[in-house]
Amino acid sequence: MAELLLIARLAGRRIAFPAADVEAVVELEGLTPAPRAAPHVAGLSALRSRVLTVIDGLAALEAGRTEGPAQDAIVVPSGGHTYALLVEEVEDVIEASAPPTPAKAPLGAGWDRVSLGMIEAEGELFLLVDPHQLIAGPAARAA
C-alpha cells in the first residue's frame, strides 16, 4: 500500500508528513507557556487529559516564531511524550505515488535538517518532513 501523507503548510511552504507518525490533527485550546524551556517549545497544552508539549514549527526551523491565536497542530507521539506541532494549516491526507527520493538541491536554512527527501503525490512534488526532527529542535543538530 502506498504511503499516506499529511499535507500541511509551514513557513509558507507546502510539506508532507508521513501520516503514520501523526496521531491526530487538533485545534489547540489554550497554551500554557513553559518559561526557559528550549526556544522551539511554544508551551504546553492538553488533549483529553494528556499533556501535550507544543512545538513551534517555525522556531524549530529557526525561521522566526509563530504569533497570533492558536492554529492547527498535528499530534505526534515521540520518545514517550506526546507533542503538538504547530503548523500554519493542515490541508489533506493523500496517497504518495512513489517512494521518497533524496532531495538533490540544498533546501535552505532549517529544512535540510528535518527533511526526509522529496515525495510525489497526486502529480505534485512535496518535501517530506520528519516530525521527530522538528520536535528535536535546532539543538539536535549539534549532536
Binding site: 526557559r36 497544552s45 487529559s49 499533556v51
Partner: protein
C-alpha cells in the same frame, strides 16, 4: 512451561527472602519447632518443584538440607551452630541457583558437594569456610529484583484512572453549563464516586507493607555481627506501614548500607562496650512510621557515634573545607559532613563497608526519589539516621502558586513556610548581585520566581508572597511569587526533554480544569539561580557588602561610559584611577587572560575579548588601592551623582545590575567581581615577594625559575635587593639576607634537596615569614 518456571523462580526467591528472618530466629532458639517447620517446608517445596522441572542440582541441595532438618525434627541431632550455618549456606546456594536460572547464567557446581557434606552430622568445621564468601556475594546480586505484577501494568492502570478523573472533571464543567437535570446529576455523582474508589484502590495496589524491606535485615545483622565479632540485637518496628512498591525497592540498598555502617563503624566490639559502661549487646533499632504524606524510616544504634570534629579534620585534610568555613559549622553541620563524597570516619577500610560506596551515595539515592536524610548523633551514645521519603512516586501533594500570571506547582514536601511580603518577620537586603531575605533572624538567599523564569512581574511588591523552600538535601531559600492558591494532590508525569532542559521543572500535571501545570523543581530552581551558598557564605557576602556600601553610598558618584560594543555602563568614580589611551600593541593574550603592558607593569584587561581593531584603546584604570585592572571602553558619557535604584543582575558577573539614568537603562559594573576575577598575584609588583636566584646556572634558569615564579615570586633583577635569596651549595652569600640553600645530594643538613618541591615551598614560606617578622 516458561511461565511455570518463572513462577517457580519468583516464588522461590520470595520464600527465601521471607525465610531469612525465620532462620536467624531458629538459630537463636533451636528448640523453636514452628521455625524449624517453616524452613523444612521451604526446602521440601524446592525439592518437589525442582524434581518437577528437572533441575538436579537444586534437587540435590534441597534434598540434603531436608534430610538434615528431618533428623533435627526427629530429635536425632541438635540444631547446633554448624548445622545452622550449613543450612544457611544451602539456602543461599538455592537462591544463587535460582538467580542464575533467571538470568540464564551458569554457576559453578564444584562447591555443591562441599555444602552437602557440611550438612552431614560428621562435618568438620573448616568445610564451612566458603560460606561467608558466598553470603557476601549473594548480597551483591540482590540488585536484580522484580515483583510479580509488572509495575508497568500498575502505571498504566494508574494513568488510566487519572485520565478518568480528568474526564470526569471535564464532564462536570460541561454539566454546569447545561440546564439542571437531577437524574443526570445523580448518575454523574455515582460515576464520580466510583472513580474515586477505583483511584484509591489502585493507589493501594502499588502499596506494600514495609515488612518486605525489613525481612532481610535479621539475616544481614546476624552475618555482619558474626563476621565482625560484635553482638547486635535488632529491633524492627512498624513493619505494617505501607508504601509504594517501587519506593521500597529504591530504599532497599540505602537502608542496607546504613545498617551495614551502623554495625561496622557504629557499634563497638563487646569489650570496648563494656569499657564504655554499655551492655555488651549493642542495639540497632529500625523503625518505620507514616506521618502525613511521608514515610519516616529511622535507624538508630547505640554505638560510638559520629565524631564531628574528626570529620572536620578529615574534610580539612582533603581540602573540602577551609579553616574559616570549618569554624562556622554547627555541630549538626559537622555531622552532616558524613554525607560528603570521599569522607569516612573509619580509620581503616573494612571488608564490610569499605567498598567505595559511601554515605554520599546513600543520600544521592534517597534524594533521587524526593526524600531527605538527616543525621543526629551524640558522641559515645550512638547515631540516629532518619530517612524521610514521599509516600508514592506518582501522586505528589503540591502547592499551586502563580507568578507572572501563570500557575505553577511546588512539591509540598519542600515548603517550610509561607509568608506575606511586608510582614514584620521578613526583611530584604540586596547583597551586590544577589538578594537576601532575613526571616526572624535567619538569612537565606531570595529568588523572585518571575525573574528566574525570565518573565515580567505583573503585581506590585506588596501583593507578593514569600515561600520558604527547602530542597531535599539543600539549603533553605526564599521564593518570591505573586500569589499562593491551594494545596492539591497532583498526578505528576515527566515533561518532555525540551521542557526539562530548562532545569527548573520536575514534571507536568493537569489542573482540575484540564489545563497543564508545570511542577517546579525546588533544587533545580536553586541551581538555576545560583543560590547554593549556605548561611556562613551569606554572612561573608554581607561583610563584603558593608565594605562596598562605602563605595556605593546612598548617593553615588558614577562615571557613565559607553563600552566597546555600545552598551551604557557605569562605574563608581572612586574606583577610577585615571583614563588613558594605550597603544593596541601593548595588549597581549597571555596566561589565559588578556593583559596590558603599561608603565613597565602588566595588568589584566577587561571590557573586550580581544585587542580591538584600532591603533589605540581607551582604558579606565580601576584600582582597589592594591591591584589595578584596565577596562577598555569607547567613550565617556557623563559623570553623575545619583541615588542608585539598582535592579540586581540574576547571576554574579561583570554587571552588578541595571538602573535608569534619564529614562535609559545603564548597567553598573561590579568592581568586586572584576577584581576577584582578574586580580592575581602577578599583577601587583608592590606586594609581590622578590626572590634572587643564582646566575649563570642552566638548571636554575630552566627548572627552578619557572617554579619559583609559579609560586608567585618575582625574580630579582641583577643588583636588586631581594626578600629571599636562593643559593646553591658552594655559593657565598651576604650576611643579613634570608637564604634558602639547595643541595644536589638527597641526604644532607641545613639545606634543601633541589628536587624536594614540598620542602622548598616550606623553606621559602619560612624565609618569607622571617623577613616580615
Amino acid at each position: 512451561m516458561d511461565e511455570l518456571i518463572n513462577d517457580f523462580i519468583a516464588e522461590t526467591r520470595d520464600m527465601a527472602q521471607a525465610l531469612s528472618g525465620a532462620i536467624v530466629a531458629w538459630e537463636a532458639a533451636p528448640e523453636d519447632r514452628a521455625r524449624l517447620d517453616e524452613i523444612f517446608r521451604f526446602v521440601h517445596t524446592v525439592k518437589g518443584n525442582s524434581g518437577f522441572f528437572d533441575l538436579p542440582r537444586l534437587q540435590q541441595l534441597s534434598h540434603a538440607a531436608e534430610g538434615a532438618l528431618a533428623e533435627v525434627r526427629e530429635g536425632k541431632r541438635p540444631a547446633d551452630r554448624i548445622l545452622v550455618n550449613a543450612v544457611l549456606a544451602v539456602i543461599d546456594r538455592i537462591g544463587e541457583l535460582v538467580q542464575a536460572l533467571e538470568s540464564g547464567q551458569s554457576l559453578g557446581s564444584e562447591d555443591d558437594e562441599q555444602l552437602i557434606a557440611a550438612l552431614s552430622s560428621e562435618a568438620a568445621v573448616p568445610a564451612l569456610q566458603p560460606e561467608a564468601a558466598a553470603a557476601v556475594e549473594t548480597d551483591n546480586k540482590k540488585a536484580v529484583r522484580s515483583i510479580r505484577l509488572s509495575v508497568d501494568l500498575l502505571d498504566r492502570m494508574m494513568s488510566g484512572v487519572s485520565d478518568a478523573v480528568l474526564a470526569r472533571n471535564e464532564l462536570a464543567r460541561r454539566l454546569r453549563d447545561m440546564p439542571r437535570d437531577v437524574a443526570i446529576e445523580a448518575a454523574f455523582d455515582r460515576v464520580s464516586q466510583c472513580i474515586a474508589e477505583i483511584r484509591d484502590a489502585i493507589t493501594r495496589t502499588r502499596m506494600q507493607r514495609i515488612d518486605s524491606l525489613f525481612a532481610g535485615l535479621p539475616r544481614l545483622v546476624r552475618d555482619l555481627s558474626a563476621d565482625l565479632g560484635k553482638q547486635v540485637r535488632l529491633q524492627a518496628d512498624g513493619g505494617d506501614v505501607e508504601m509504594d512498591r517501587e519506593m521500597i525497592e529504591m530504599i532497599r540498598d540505602p537502608l542496607t548500607h546504613i545498617v551495614r555502617n551502623a554495625i561496622d563503624h557504629g557499634i563497638e566490639a563487646p569489650e570496648a562496650r563494656e569499657e564504655a559502661g554499655k551492655p555488651r549487646l549493642g542495639t540497632l533499632k529500625v523503625s518505620a512510621r507514616q506521618a502525613g504524606n511521608q514515610i519516616i524510616i529511622e535507624v538508630a544504634d547505640d554505638g560510638r557515634g559520629i565524631d564531628g570534629d574528626a570529620l572536620v579534620r578529615k574534610a580539612r585534610a582533603v581540602g573540602l573545607l577551609t579553616a574559616e568555613q570549618a569554624d562556622k559549622l554547627s555541630a549538626g553541620q559537622k555531622q552532616a559532613l558524613v554525607f560528603s563524597p570521599g569522607l569516612s570516619t573509619a580509620g581503616e577500610v573494612t571488608a564490610i563497608s569499605g567498598r567505595g560506596v559511601g554515605m554520599d551515595v546513600v543520600r544521592a539515592n534517597i534524594e533521587r526519589i524526593g526524600g531527605v536524610v538527616d543525621i543526629d548523633s551524640r558522641l559515645g551514645h550512638g547515631v540516629r539516621l532518619c530517612i524521610r521519603v514521599p509516600l508514592t512516586l506518582t501522586i505528589i501533594p503540591a502547592l499551586t502558586i502563580s507568578a507572572a500570571g501563570q500557575v505553577f506547582a511546588i512539591p509540598r514536601s519542600a515548603i517550610e513556610e509561607i509568608l506575606r511580603v511586608g510582614s514584620e518577620a521578613v526583611r530584604f537586603d540586596k547583597v551586590g548581585e544577589a538578594q537576601v531575605a532575613t526571616v526572624r533572624g535567619r538569612r537565606m538567599p531570595m529568588i523572585a520566581l518571575c525573574d528566574l523564569l525570565g518573565v515580567e512581574q505583573v503585581v506590585s511588591d506588596s501583593e507578593r508572597r514569600i515561600i520558604l523552600v527547602k530542597p531535599a538535601g539543600g539549603e533553605c531559600y526564599a521564593l518570591g511569587v505573586a500569589s499562593v492558591h491551594d494545596h492539591e494532590e497532583l498526578v505528576v508525569k515527566p515533561a518532555a526533554p525540551a521542557v526539562m532542559s530548562a532545569g527548573l521543572y520536575a514534571g507536568t500535571t493537569l489542573a482540575d480544569d484540564g489545563r497543564p501545570i508545570l511542577l517546579l523543581d525546588p533544587s533545580g530552581m536553586a541551581k538555576c539561580a545560583g543560590v547554593n551558598f549556605n548561611e556562613a557564605e551569606i554572612e561573608r557576602h554581607l561583610a563584603v557588602k558593608a565594605e562596598r556600601e562605602e563605595v556605593l553610598a546612598a548617593e553615588s558618584t558614577l562615571l557613565l561610559f559607553r563600552t566597546l560594543d555600545g552598551r551604557r555602563r557605569a562605574v563608581p568614580v572612586g574606583l577610577v584611577e585615571r583614563i588613558e589611551d594605550v597603544p593596541v600593541s601593548a595588549i597581549g593574550f597571555s596566561a589565559g587572560k588578556l593583559r596590558l603592558a603599561l608603565d613597565g607593569r602588566i595588568m589584566p584587561l577587561c571590557g573586550c575579548d580581544a585587542a580591538p581593531d584600532a591603533e589605540k584603546l581607551r582604558i579606565l584604570r580601576l584600582t582597589d588601592g592594591d591591584t589595578e585592572v584596565a577596562y577598555g571602553f569607547a567613550e565617556v558619557i557623563d559623570i553623575r551623582s545619583l541615588v542608585l535604584d539598582l535592579q540586581s543582575a540574576p547571576a554574579p558577573g561583570e554587571v552588578a545590575g541595571a538602573f535608569l539614568v534619564d529614562g535609559a537603562p545603564v548597567e553598573l559594573l561590579d568592581p568586586h567581581w572584576l577584581f576577584s576575577l582578574h586580580a592575581d598575584a602577578g599583577s601587583d609588583r608592590a606586594t609581590q615577594p622578590v626572590c634572587a636566584l643564582p646566575e649563570g646556572d642552566s638548571w636554575v634558569d630552566v627548572m627552578l625559575r619557572p617554579m619559583i615564579e609559579g609560586l608567585g615570586y618575582r625574580i630579582a633583577r641583577a643588583g636588586e635587593l631581594a626578600d629571599i635569596l636562593i643559593a646553591l651549595e658552594d655559593q657565598e652569600v651576604p650576611q643579613d639576607v634570608n637564604v634558602v640553600r639547595l643541595r644536589s645530594a638527597v641526604e644532607g643538613q641545613g639545606s634543601v634537596y633541589r628536587y624536594d618541591r614540598a620542602a622548598l615551598i616550606g623553606a621559602l614560606a619560612a624565609a618569607k615569614g622571617r623577613k616580615h617578622g
